[in-house]
Amino acid sequence: MQPDEPFVTCPLCGQTHAAPFLKPGQRASCVRCGSLLAEAGHLGPQAPLVFACTGLVLAVPALLLPFVTLSKFGKERTVLLTDGFLGFWTHGFAPFGAAVLIAGTIAPFGLLGLLAALYVLGKRNPAPALLPRLRHWAHQVEYWAMPEVQILGVLVAFFKLGSVVNVTIGPGLYCYGGSSLFTLMAWRSFKLRPRERRPFRAAAVATS
């Protein structure tokens, strides 16, 4: 794996390193604090793009197909991925509906799009000026993307509802699970520099 910048600064301790050349499976850790700086996957160099595109393809049925189907008193109700957001939004909890939509839908799928774009743009020579900003956004978006937590929440709801209504898991949930898995794999395999922080001014103000 060839580094795309000459230096890597550890986001946790600020130590600067010459960017490492990694063979498949190798990891580079910070000499000062020991945190992981970079990792080269065993899979080919195109693996991140394949993972990101597969995740994006699965995002479409995850959005459109039923997540779960509930039935009670002879009535049936199909629930979609975005119904959690609507559940809050329509009951006067709009900001929290937005938080659910961002963390469970927009950020995970947006991250896949960003990773695919980063991969494609990163291959261009010279690298587009937009690239560092996209990298920064990818780190920011990843922090708020929580598809795995949403899946766990839905599964807990599934068992909780089991005693009250009849619940069937739909194909949308499987696709969402698959998309989430590919998001994780794309993120892990992507040759992304660590999160960058602003220049550090340690002792801005000293008091006595």
Binding site: C13, V79, G87, A99, V156, V164
Partner: protein, 178 residues
């Protein structure tokens, strides 16, 4: 030297302010109901985070009760304790001396576990969106979920604002290395 007038840094000040706000929001989050479940002729009650865990336990879903308890009680509390320690260490030399690696690991752990407390917010949101059978059966959100959601978002913002490089200011950096 006034020990409560430490090095001012935008990072620690903002992080501390967000963490204090999260501590304040813990009270309504744990005491107010998070949702109301109504089923015609069977059941109609408000649920708090704690009673939700108890209900799962009573349904025989002990494993899930443990997961929800961990995500909703242990994670926010451990996270706030960890943040308090990190903020103290960032401001007071005696709290970080000889332990920057340990403190950096604590920061990593606090950063990693934070998102899992969103579990209850996703759970309530999903139930509110899913169980809508008109008069027959419905779930509605209650103010407790807003307070709990605020705790989760505030603690995540507090961790995000914290700059772990503050834990390393006493340790000289190694010359640029490979």
């Amino acid at each position: 030297m006034n020990i409560w007038a430490p090095r001012a840094s935008a990072s620690t000040t903002q992080s501390a302010a967000l963490a204090v706000a999260a501590v304040v929001m813990l009270v309504p989050a744990y005491t107010l109901p998070v949702m109301h479940l109504g089923i015609l002729g069977q059941h109609s009650a408000d649920t708090t985070i704690f009673s939700g865990v108890v209900q799962l336990w009573q349904q025989g879903l002990g494993g899930l009760a443990a997961i929800v308890f961990t995500a909703s009680f242990l994670v926010p509390l451990l996270k706030l304790l960890g943040l308090a320690w990190l903020l103290l260490a960032a401001n007071r030399e005696k709290f970080r001396r000889r332990r920057p690696r340990l403190l950096t690991r604590i920061y990593g752990a606090v950063d990693f576990i934070g998102r899992w407390s969103m579990l209850d917010v996703f759970l309530v949101a999903f139930l509110c969106g899913a169980v809508q059978f008109g008069q027959l059966a419905s779930v509605q959100p209650r103010p407790g979920v807003a307070a709990f959601g605020a705790v989760v978002l505030l603690t995540m913002l507090a961790t995000h604002r914290f700059d772990p490089r503050l834990l390393w200011v006493d340790v000289p950096a190694t010359p640029r290395t490979t």
